[in-house]
C-alpha cells in the first residue's frame, strides 16, 4: 500500500450511527443524537492504522442521492468529485431493507464500498438475524457487522477499510436490473462514452440513470461539459417522455420502484426477522407522548422541568461555587502590586477587571452543566423528533417548519442554547423559505450568553417570583419569534421556495449516562473556551475603552490635594496619641491601609469562632501595633481606630470619584452617553448602554461588563456577588428597567460568531446585515414600549411583564391566522 493519505467517506441514511462510527475510529467528538439530520456538514478527522494515515469524512445522512436537498448534494458531490478510496456505507442493521435503497445508489457510483451493518445490538434485540455471507454474495461487497455505540466490531471495520483501500482492482458489485429501462440506459451510456469530457470523469451508468431521473444538477454538468449539450439534453427529454408514455410511470418512479424491489428480494434471502412486531414499545410511548392532550402537556412539562432543574436548582448550586471564585480573585489580588493611597497600579486594575469579567461568567457553570446534560438526555432519547411532530402544525402556521424545532432547541428554545450551532443546523431544513426564516429568528432565542443577564436581573428585581419570571423570559422569546417569522415569510421571504415535511420518527433509546455526562462536560468546556477567548479579548478591549484617555494632570492634582488634606487631618486628629502617631509615619500609613483591607477581606472569608481566632492570632503576630488599631481593645486604640476608619472612608470616596470621572471621560462612556437621549425611553442609563455595547461582540460580555462596572471598590465589597453589588449601587433602577433590559436582550442582534454563521448559511451579505439591523430596531421598540408605556400607566414590573406577554400572545394569534401560500412541486 502506498503511504500518504487514504480518503475514507462515511455515508448512510440519517440516524444510522455515522457520527458514532466517526468518533469511534478517529477519537474525535462529533455531535451525536437520536435525531435524523444532526450532521448537516461534512466533518473530517483521521486515524492511523498499520502505518497508513486514513482521512475520514463524516458525510451528512441522506435517504437518497438526488439533488433536491442540500445535504444530499453535499454527500453526492463529495463522492463524485473527491473520489474517496473507500466509502463505508453505514446502515442500521435493524432496518436493513430500507438502507439498501441508498446502498444501491452508492454502489452505482463505482467507488470501492464496505457495507457496515451497524446497530447489530438493536437488530438482535428485535430478533432480526442477518445472513452476512449471503448478503455479501448478493451485493458483491464486503459486509462488516458492528455495534459501534459499544465499540464492537471496530477492529474488523478498520481491517476491512485497509484491505478495501489496498485492492487496486475494484471488486465487482452487483448491478440492479432496471428491466424496461435498461435499453434507455444503454442508449444514453453509449452517447456519453463518445464524449471524452464526461465519459472519462464520471461513472457512466450512474450518470445515465441520473439523466433519466431528470436530475437538474446533472443536466447542469452536461450543460457545462458536453460539446452538443443542448441537443443531447433534449434527446434525454424525449427518452424520458417516451418511457413514461409506454410504461405508465416516470423513469424516476420506475427506478425507485426497482431499487425497492431488489432490496426486498435480497432481504428475503438474507434477513430473517424472527419477531417483526417489536416496535410496540415505542408505539405505546408515542401513544402517550404524541397524544392530543397529554402530548402538549408533556412538552410544556419537559420545558418547565428543564428550567427548574437547570436554572433554579443550578443557581442554588452557585452558592457553593461562588466562594471558590472569590478565592481566585483574592489570589490574583495578592499577586498584583499593592495600591497607593489614590494611585491604583494599572496592572492591578487590569488583572482584577479581567478576573471579575471571567468570574461573572464562570459563576454560571453549574447551570450550564445541568442544562447541557438534560438536553443530551432529550437528544439521545429520541424525544426531539416527537417535538417536531407536535410543533409542526404550530410552527407551520408561522412560516416555520417542524424541523425548525431542532435549530430552535439548539438556539435556545429551552433557554440556554447557542445561536451558532442553531443557525448551522438550519441547513437540514428542506424548505428554503422556512430555513431562511429560522436562520433569521434563531438569534432572537434565548442563547446561553443571554442567560446570565436574565438570571442576574431576575435574582435582583424579581426575586419573589423567580420561577415565573424565568418562565416568562424563556417563553416570551418564542412568543415574539413566531409573529416575527410569520411577518418575515409574508414580506421579505415571500417568494422563496418551499418543500415538504416528511420526517422519520426513530424508535426511543434509553440515554446512556456516560454519553450524556460526557457531552455535558464537553459543551461546558466549549463554553469555558469561548469565555477565555472571545470574552477575554472583549474584556481587554473594553478595559482599554473604559480606562482611557483617563484623567488629565489638572484633575490628578485636584485629587492629590484631596489626599493630602485627608492625611493631614488624620495626623492632626491623632496628635494626642504620640505612640500611634510615630508608628504611622510616612510609608507606614499606607502599609496600615493595606493591612486593614486585607484583614477585613480575610474576616469576610472566615467562618466559625475557632477559625476567626486563628486568623486574629495570625494578623496579630504579623504586626501587633497595626492589629491593636484594627481590632482596638483600650480607649486610646478605639479613638485611633475611629479616626483611621474616617481616613479609609475619605480614601474610598476619592477612589470612587476618580473612577466615576475616568469612566465618564472614557471612550465607551462617551458613546454610552451619546446614546442616552434615545435609550432613555427604554430605561437604559449609560452604564447599561456601555454593557450592551460591549455585548455586540459576544453577549456574555454584557454581564461581564456590568460585573466590572459595578466593580468592588477598594472597600471590602470584594466578596459580594454581582447581584448584591448591583442592588447596592444602582438606586432608581426598578423592575421595569430590568424588564425593558431583558426584552432588549431577547431581541439583541446576533454576536460576531453568529453573524458569520448567518453569512455562511444564507450565502449572502445582504441577509447578514439584515439579521443585524432588524433585531436592533425590534428590541428598542419593545423596550421603549415596556418602559415608557409601563411608566405612563404606573405598572409594576410583574404587571408590565404580563401585559407584554398578553400583547405578544395577541400578536402571535393574529399572525397565525394569516395564511402563507405553499406549492408542492
Amino acid at each position: 500500500m502506498k503511504p500518504g493519505n487514504i480518503l475514507v467517506a462515511l455515508a448512510g441514511q440519517p440516524n444510522c450511527g455515522k457520527s458514532t462510527v466517526f468518533n469511534a475510529v478517529t477519537g474525535a467528538s462529533q455531535h451525536v443524537a437520536n435525531y435524523p439530520g444532526v450532521t448537516v456538514d461534512k466533518k473530517t478527522g483521521w486515524f492511523k492504522h498499520n502505518g497508513s494515515r486514513f482521512e475520514v469524512v463524516d458525510l451528512p445522512g441522506t435517504y437518497s442521492l438526488t439533488s433536491y436537498s442540500p445535504e444530499e448534494r453535499v454527500a453526492r458531490d463529495f463522492i463524485l468529485h473527491e473520489k474517496p478510496a473507500v466509502v463505508v456505507n453505514v446502515t442500521d442493521a435493524s432496518n436493513l431493507k430500507r438502507s439498501l435503497y441508498l446502498s444501491f445508489q452508492l454502489m452505482e457510483m463505482e467507488i470501492p464500498m464496505i457495507l457496515e451493518l451497524n446497530m447489530m445490538d438493536v437488530a438482535e434485540k428485535r430478533g432480526v438475524e442477518i445472513d452476512v455471507k449471503n448478503l455479501e454474495q448478493r451485493l458483491g461487497v464486503k459486509a462488516v457487522p458492528t455495534s459501534m455505540k459499544k465499540g464492537k466490531g471496530k477492529t474488523e471495520l478498520l481491517l476491512a477499510i485497509e484491505s478495501a483501500a489496498a485492492q487496486s482492482n475494484k471488486r465487482q458489485s452487483v448491478r440492479i436490473d432496471y428491466g424496461a429501462l435498461e435499453p434507455y440506459i444503454k442508449d444514453i451510456e453509449e452517447q456519453l462514452f463518445q464524449d471524452a469530457a464526461i465519459g472519462a470523469q464520471y461513472p457512466i451508468r450512474w450518470f445515465a440513470l441520473k439523466l433519466l431521473e431528470g436530475d437538474e444538477a446533472i443536466s447542469g454538468l452536461v450543460q457545462g461539459r458536453h460539446v452538443r449539450a443542448g441537443a443531447f439534453l433534449s434527446y434525454v427529454e424525449t427518452l424520458r417522455s417516451r418511457f413514461e408514455e409506454r410504461h405508465g410511470a416516470a423513469p424516476e418512479v420506475h427506478i425507485a420502484q426497482r431499487r425497492y424491489q431488489t432490496a426486498e428480494d435480497i432481504a428475503r434471502t438474507s434477513i430473517i426477522n424472527l419477531d417483526p412486531d417489536k416496535r410496540t414499545l415505542t408505539d405505546k410511548v408515542d401513544g402517550v407522548v404524541c397524544h392530543r392532550f397529554a402530548g402538549p402537556v408533556i412538552l410544556v412539562g419537559v420545558i418547565w422541568l428543564l428550567y427548574y432543574l437547570a436554572i433554579v436548582q443550578g443557581y442554588n448550586l452557585t452558592n457553593y461555587t461562588w466562594p471558590l471564585l472569590a478565592k481566585l480573585r483574592s489570589l490574583v489580588e495578592s499577586l498584583t502590586p499593592v495600591p497607593g493611597f489614590i494611585e491604583i497600579p494599572l496592572l492591578r486594575a487590569f488583572s482584577l477587571w479581567f478576573v471579575d469579567s471571567i468570574n461573572a461568567l464562570l459563576n454560571y457553570i453549574p447551570i450550564f452543566f445541568i442544562l447541557f446534560a438534560l438536553i443530551a438526555v432529550l437528544e439521545d432519547s429520541g424525544y426531539m423528533p416527537r417535538m417536531a411532530f407536535i410543533m409542526d402544525r404550530l410552527f407551520g402556521r408561522f412560516g416555520l417548519h417542524g424541523q425548525s424545532t431542532l435549530p430552535m432547541v439548539l438556539g435556545g428554545i429551552y433557554v440556554g442554547g447557542c445561536a451558532v450551532p442553531g443557525v448551522m443546523s438550519c441547513k437540514g431544513i428542506p424548505d428554503e423559505r422556512s430555513r431562511l426564516a429560522t436562520i433569521l429568528i434563531i438569534p432572537l432565542l434565548n442563547c446561553l450568553a443571554k442567560v446570565p443577564l436574565y438570571v442576574l436581573l431576575i435574582n435582583i428585581y424579581f426575586a419573589a417570583h423567580k420561577a415565573w419570571a424565568m418562565f416568562f423570559i424563556s417563553t416570551i422569546s418564542l412568543l415574539m419569534v413566531l409573529p416575527v417569522s410569520k411577518l418575515l415569510t409574508l414580506t421579505v421571504l415571500k417568494d422563496k421556495e418551499t418543500a415538504p415535511f416528511v420526517m422519520e420518527m426513530p424508535p426511543y433509546h434509553l440515554p446512556a449516562l456516560r454519553g450524556v455526562l460526557g457531552r455535558a462536560v464537553e459543551r461546558v468546556w466549549l463554553f469555558i473556551r469561548k469565555i477565555t477567548t472571545i470574552v477575554a479579548a472583549v474584556a481587554v478591549v473594553i478595559f482599554a475603552l473604559l480606562q482611557f484617555p483617563g484623567l488629565n494632570s489638572e484633575r490628578m492634582d485636584f485629587y492629590e490635594k484631596g489626599k493630602e488634606e485627608a492625611i493631614a487631618r488624620f495626623y492632626q486628629k491623632i496628635e494626642n496619641y504620640p505612640e500611634h502617631h510615630a508608628v504611622l509615619q510616612g510609608g507606614a500609613l499606607m502599609d496600615m491601609v493595606n493591612y486593614w483591607e486585607e484583614y477585613k477581606a480575610a474576616k469576610m472569608m472566615t467562618q466559625g469562632e475557632d477559625a476567626m481566632r486563628t486568623l486574629q492570632a495570625n494578623f496579630q503576630s504579623r504586626n501587633p501595633v497595626f492589629f491593636s488599631i484594627a481590632q482596638p481593645q483600650n480607649k486610646e486604640d478605639k479613638k485611633v481606630n475611629r479616626e483611621f476608619k474616617k481616613l479609609v472612608k475619605a480614601r474610598n470616596k476619592l477612589l470612587r470619584e476618580m473612577k466615576k470621572e475616568r469612566i465618564n471621560n472614557s471612550f465607551l462612556g462617551k458613546l454610552g452617553k451619546t446614546l442616552t437621549p434615545v435609550t432613555r425611553y427604554a430605561g437604559f442609563d449609560w452604564k447599561v448602554n456601555v454593557a450592551l455595547l460591549s455585548a455586540l461582540a459576544a453577549k456574555e460580555s454584557s454581564v461581564a461588563t456590568l460585573g466590572a462596572l459595578y466593580q468592588p471598590d477598594e472597600s471590602g465589597q470584594e466578596n459580594q456577588t454581582l447581584e448584591q453589588r448591583m442592588e447596592n449601587d444602582s438606586e432608581g433602577f426598578t423592575p421595569l428597567h430590568a424588564l425593558a433590559l431583558m426584552l432588549f436582550m431577547v431581541l439583541y442582534p446576533p454576536c460576531l460568531a453568529t453573524t458569520i454563521a448567518v453569512k455562511v448559511q444564507t450565502g449572502s451579505f445582504k441577509w447578514m446585515l439584515f439579521s443585524m439591523v432588524y433585531p436592533m430596531c425590534l428590541g428598542l421598540s419593545a423596550a421603549v414600549l415596556v418602559f415608557s408605556g409601563g411608566t405612563a400607566l404606573g405598572l409594576t414590573g410583574m404587571q408590565a411583564m404580563w401585559a407584554f406577554y398578553g400583547l405578544a400572545l395577541a400578536a402571535a394569534i393574529a399572525m397565525g391566522l394569516v395564511k402563507n401560500k405553499t406549492e408542492y412541486v
Binding site: 431493507k97 430500507r98 420502484q257 404524541c290 402530548g295 428542506p430 420526517m503 422519520e504 420518527m505
Partner: protein, 74 residues
Amino acid sequence: MTLDQIKPGSHCRIKKLSIGDKLGQRLMDMGVYSGIRVKVLRNAPLEDPMELELDGYCMSLRHDEARFVEVEVL
C-alpha cells in the same frame, strides 16, 4: 381515496403517487412507493401532521402532502 383521508389505526396500500418532483421523490426516497402497506398510526395533537408506519419504521407527513398519495383501504 387518498392517504390524508385514512383514519388513524387503519391500514392501506399505496397505489400511486400523483405528484413528481420534490415531494414525489422525497416520498419515494423515504419508502413510500406503490405496493407498500401503510398503517396510519396517529395524528399530531393539532391534527397535523400524521404518523405512518411502513415496513417497520415510522415517519410523519402533513395531510396537505398526503393528499397526493393514492391508496386503497385494506
